[in-house]
Symmetry: C2
């Protein structure tokens, strides 16, 4: 699956001779991840009339973690959680964004993202590539309190953006308020308090007609 000949951004302006080999690998990776700024998400920004990109989203999550960590149901290491949110979407550089409300897009998501992770983290010196891969696996597997809290931030942040947009992606055709509640419920795996707040916004949005009422909900 991996395309061995994928051109790297750094190939456009190769670094000069004389750059230390390890630093060369690190700079190559750091230039390549500039691509995250071009991966568009579905969520609309609050402050401008355009969609958010993955780098902006990741920064926003990283700002949320220390401010909202006090609501975590289990103690979390804030710095570690920040690391997880900073890199959680990196694989989308090669695998693309998978919209939350598009079941078809999720079918081969895991496989595409694993290939992307091998390729992207493989640009780094081996020890650092392995470290980032472990962090990404941790986020994906959600076995640690930090990974669950990171995932909660990943769901809560677009919820805030959608609230501000009076619907946003909640208005996606075919999506109901029940679907939104189902997709966002993982917030509750990390924090009952934050999920209570998230529910309040989703329920009130439904009441105002910003999402289509699903059957059998409050």
């Amino acid at each position: 699956m991996s395309d061995e000949s994928r051109p790297l951004l750094v190939d456009r302006t190769p670094f000069p001779d004389g750059l230390d080999e390890r630093l060369h690998a690190q700079f190559t990776f750091l230039v390549e991840i500039d691509r995250l700024k071009t991966i568009l998400r579905q969520s609309p920004l609050v402050a401008a009339e355009r969609r958010e990109n993955d780098a902006e989203h990741s920064w926003h999550l990283a700002m949320m973690v220390p401010l909202l960590a006090e609501y975590a149901d289990e103690p979390i290491d804030v710095g570690h959680t920040v690391q997880l949110v900073l890199l959680h979407d990196l694989v989308e550089i090669y695998a693309g964004d998978t919209p939350l409300y598009d079941p078809a897009a999720g079918v081969d998501q895991a496989e595409r993202e694993t290939v992307a992770a091998d390729e992207l983290f493989g640009l780094l010196p081996e020890d650092q590539g392995r470290r980032l891969r472990e962090l990404w696996d941790e986020f994906e597997e959600r076995r640690t309190p930090e990974a669950r809290f990171a995932k909660a931030m990943d769901r809560l942040q677009p919820l805030l953006l959608n609230w501000m947009a009076r619907g946003g992606t909640w208005r996606t055709p075919g999506v109901t308020a029940d679907d939104v509640r189902a997709r966002k419920a993982v917030i509750g795996d990390a924090s009952a308090e934050l999920w209570k707040a998230g529910r309040l916004l989703i329920d009130e949005g439904e009441r105002r007609g910003w999402s289509r009422s699903g059957s059998g909900n409050a």
Copy 2:
């Protein structure tokens, strides 16, 4: 100087009744900082034909810190340094970006940014606002190894972008390679190794005509 009546982003879609007061303040701040995604810097992206914004820039620095911390001349706390880079540009939400090579723009920068900090961090619950203000002051004052390393990342990242753009802001009229070296020299306050690499790129850029040769340099 402070405009008491500055409209907040959250005023466009106020949160519903029933949201806890502390969480209300935290969400208000988290929505307001969406503005960082609209503050444009001078640096050109590598991956797209546009300028970088502050949120993307801050995310990029946060990715650099753990990967390049091994080059710090003094031991640094990586998580703390990440916190500093994530918030270092927040005051530009109200104070605007101050271009590195524009001496006039820097004249009242400190005053504008202090007013902005009072206003922005004042949106948070008092304890958290104070905490973020302390972190921002630490970054500005550069008294700690973490603040010096954060500043080095802030200078090194656009250096990589400018290298990739074969000049970028190095081509600003009136700016010479000596000016670039002078502005970037703070990298050496945190890491001799990274400053050596930075110098290599600047010197090679000058040799290739991507910046105007200043007098008296190598």
